[in-house]
């Protein structure tokens, strides 16, 4: 029995944290809101250089062959920085799907490019009717009629669907099946798609706890400096307790997320562990966003304050891949034995 990360895992986390602290301050996220594709100018290549994008890919394809326990902390960092890049879709979902699909020239080529960052992958699963960054991705991994397809960007018909988080460029996507390559179908595809949903759910949970951490830091910072009635508002218990409760919720969500990564890594107790992660992380991030908004008062209610960049990402991800109620319901099926415990969206 041991519940702690290794030095290696923490070292990778620290390297990514340091890079994002320097290269992805809130100003970069703000700029992404205004940019053509909702993304940053150069972070993609920096992530590729660090080995992040292909972390889950096999070594033979240029990856680091890492397990969810090795990468979960990185997703927490992506959330902490509100990184405006398709990391969840690319490294958290598409690369593991490709890795699990039977080898073929098409699959191998795109997987190799995914590791170097030459390819940017996004996904259209049944759980993601609105496809993130479909306009700037090079390839789409799509689920259709139980099969998994690889589609080149040029073959996609796109209709923008604006998100409240303007760095999340979403599209409804059409493509002609004749222009797509089948990667897996039928009995081969089903477990891969099922696992992809669990991975996406777990990594979105990790991003949410990272977002919550940053928002709480912002609340603490503001409450420590903002003065009313002649003293810092952080001295008032009403403000202190609000932030303490937000912190508590996130501190209990984080180990639950790590347990989810353990479950995925060892393929044990997956559905309940992943749903626990998403339920706690979603609720913690929403609670943090509301407490920190209230702590800021009117300035928090403006788009001039950076808080909204993190808050709106949290709103989006709290509902992505199932909200907390959906996941509690799925856990209920496991605990009360009254429905399918492996349901997916």
């Amino acid at each position: 029995m041991r519940f702690a990360f290794t030095d290696d895992q923490l070292l990778f986390r620290d390297a990514v944290r340091d890079m994002l602290k320097k290269e992805c301050p809130p100003g970069v996220v703000r700029a992404a809101w205004e940019s053509d594709n909702g993304r940053s100018a150069k972070l993609w290549s920096q992530l590729a250089e660090m080995g992040v994008l292909g972390a889950a890919a096999p070594e033979s394809m240029g990856g680091l062959e890492m397990a969810p326990l090795d990468t979960v902390l990185l997703f927490e960092e992506f959330g902490r920085a509100a990184l405006p890049e398709p990391v969840l879709e690319h490294m958290g979902v598409a690369v593991p799907i490709l890795t699990a699909c039977p080898p073929s020239p098409a699959r191998d080529a795109v997987l190799r490019d995914a590791c170097t960052g030459a390819a940017t992958l996004t996904v259209a699963l049944s759980a993601t009717p609105h496809v993130l960054y479909a306009d700037s991705a090079t390839h789409l991994i799509a689920e259709r009629d139980g099969a998994i397809y690889l589609v080149a960007a040029g073959a996609l018909g796109l209709t923008p669907q604006q998100s409240v988080d303007r760095s999340r460029r979403l599209f409804t996507v059409t493509f002609d099946i004749g222009e797509a390559t089948v990667l897996a179908e039928g009995e081969d595809a089903a477990p891969i798609l099922a696992a992809a949903f669990e991975h996406a759910t777990l990594y979105s949970s990790a991003i949410l706890t990272g977002l919550a951490s940053t928002m709480i830091d912002m609340g603490v910072e503001y409450a420590s400096t903002r003065k009313q009635f002649g003293k810092a508002i952080g001295t008032f218990q009403a403000v202190q307790h609000k932030l303490a409760d937000a912190f508590l919720a996130n501190q209990f969500a984080r180990p639950v997320v790590y347990k989810g990564a353990y479950a995925l890594t060892h393929d044990t107790d997956v559905h309940t562990s992943v749903s626990m992660a998403k339920a706690y992380a979603s609720d913690a991030a929403i609670a943090a966003s509301e407490s920190v908004l209230q702590t800021h008062g009117a300035i928090g209610y403006t788009t001039e304050c950076d808080l909204h960049l993190f808050m709106k990402r949290a709103w989006a991800l709290a509902r992505a891949f199932g909200n907390s109620k959906w996941h509690r319901n799925r856990i209920g099926h496991h605990v009360l034995d009254d429905g399918p415990a492996d349901a997916r969206l």
Partner: protein, 436 residues
């Protein structure tokens, strides 16, 4: 970190992660594989090595089996009367003696003091099995889990030899004496005093909310030994027999009707120097050193709440309740107990790695006490119209245990430092918000 340093760090990392020995035969192993491994997994992951490992060792599993078998054979089939009533206390002491004889009274203590030298993990397993078996509440709790950790850290060898074994054996029972009528959350304002005399001290004043004080043999608590010192300084930690000359005990009926509380009055009570723990005038530090263990792990281990959640699920299923909101609350209760367990595994790992758990134990205390209230409230909602029936009512479900449990749970956010005080601690000492 400069960009060049970063690249170097990453190169090193790649080396560490990629070059290290692994057990799998190669990246495409899983892809080429068939059957279960192929079907259930996306990834050809390496052995993650010395990372999160949530398996118990063979010897821990053996320990669990032994404990489970002993409890199955020995836990009273009929629940004992409340340990906070006079009649029930005596029955609970008999149970405690049985536990001690089997070596289960304080499993984590060294053998010389009546324990079995179990690891923290084994202690967690013991607790899980204990509550799973619905074994009686521990009326020795305040001694074993509150006083003993302080004695292990600050007690003299003579004190440890004299006090610990009779405590584990339930031959001498202990009540705590922290609060005073005018010192609750503001404990450091306490006024009960100790005056130096030949060979010891004379204590005067009043302590209150002493749990099971009307049945216990001894009380421990803080007294002001330096009248000129302010607040946290000038306090000393004393142990006092409740039948000493000058001690008067008055029982106070609790919310649930049991006389589980007591006020204790001290009039010039003599206490020898040998019954001081730690140094004179250093009592605050001595008491607080183990307070975080009280709020955190040892007072309320996860096994207790996992057992309560299991009983709630049982109740929900028996009830035939079809209210979707109640169903959601039942699921949440189960999840909260699991989440508390998961967090505890992280905490215990940190403790075994040599880290001290301090202010963050305040988070733990808020979590479990709020959870316990919610869980019992949900049970009473399921019981609906019979939720008000207490243990004497023939129609009460489970002998009124949920109502009794609810009333006990309501004390959780109050005792061991109110949750408001804990939130203050989290805000100022963990988050670093300004005090003034």
């Amino acid at each position: 970190m400069s960009a060049a340093d970063q690249r170097r760090a990453c190169a090193k990392l790649k080396h560490v992660l990629v070059e290290r020995p692994r057990r799998s035969n190669g990246p495409d192993q899983q892809v080429a594989g068939t059957g279960a491994s192929r079907r259930t997994a996306l990834r050809p992951h390496n052995d993650p090595g010395n990372t999160v490992d949530l398996n118990w060792s063979d010897s821990e599993e053996r320990f669990r089996s032994e404990v489970r078998a002993w409890l199955a054979a020995n836990v009273p089939t009929e629940p004992l009367p409340s340990g906070d009533s006079r009649e029930g206390f005596a029955a609970h002491i008999e149970w405690e003696k049985k536990l001690f004889a089997a070596g289960y009274a304080a499993v984590s203590w060294p053998e010389e003091y009546g324990g079995r030298g179990s690891s923290l993990w084994e202690w967690l397993i013991f607790e899980e099995e204990y509550y799973r078996a619905n074994a009686p509440n521990r009326v020795t709790q305040n001694g074993i889990f509150l006083l003993a950790p302080t004695l292990f850290e600050y007690g003299t060898d003579e004190q440890k030899r004299r006090i610990l074994k009779p405590m584990a054996a339930a031959e001498v029972t202990w009540a705590q004496g922290w609060s005073e009528p005018n010192s609750g959350s503001d404990l450091a304002s306490l006024q009960s005093r100790a005056v130096r005399v030949d060979g010891g001290w004379r204590l005067s004043g009043q302590k209150t909310w002493c749990t099971r004080g009307s049945f216990c043999d001894m009380v421990f608590g803080l007294f002001r030994s330096d009248p000129d010192a302010q607040r946290h300084s000038g306090l000393t930690y004393f142990m006092v027999p409740l039948d000493a000359e000058g001690v008067t005990v008055r029982a106070v009926e609790r919310l649930d009707g049991d006389e589980g509380f007591a006020e204790v009055f001290f009039e010039d009570v003599f206490v020898p120097d040998t019954d001081i723990i730690g140094e004179v005038n250093n009592g605050w530090k001595v008491a607080m050193a183990t307070a975080s263990s009280e709020r955190g792990l040892s007072l309320r281990s996860p096994g207790r709440f996992m057992a309560t959640a299991t009983r709630l699920i049982d109740l929900y299923r028996r009830s035939g309740c079809s209210d979707a909101r109640i169903r959601d609350e039942v699921i949440r209760a189960w999840m909260d107990a699991q989440a508390y367990n998961i967090t505890t595994l992280q905490t215990v790992t940190r403790m075994l790695d040599g880290q001290t758990i301090t202010a963050e134990s305040s988070l733990t205390k808020i979590f479990w006490s709020d959870m316990d209230v919610r869980t019992h409230k949900t049970a009473l909602d399921i019981l609906a119209l019979s939720g008000e029936l207490d243990e004497e009512a023939p129609a009460a479900d489970s002998g009124g245990a949920w109502l009794k449990g609810y009333q006990f749970a309501l004390a959780g956010p109050i005792y061991a430092g109110t949750n408001e005080i804990q939130r203050n601690v989290v805000a100022t000492r963990v988050l670093g918000l300004p005090r003034k």
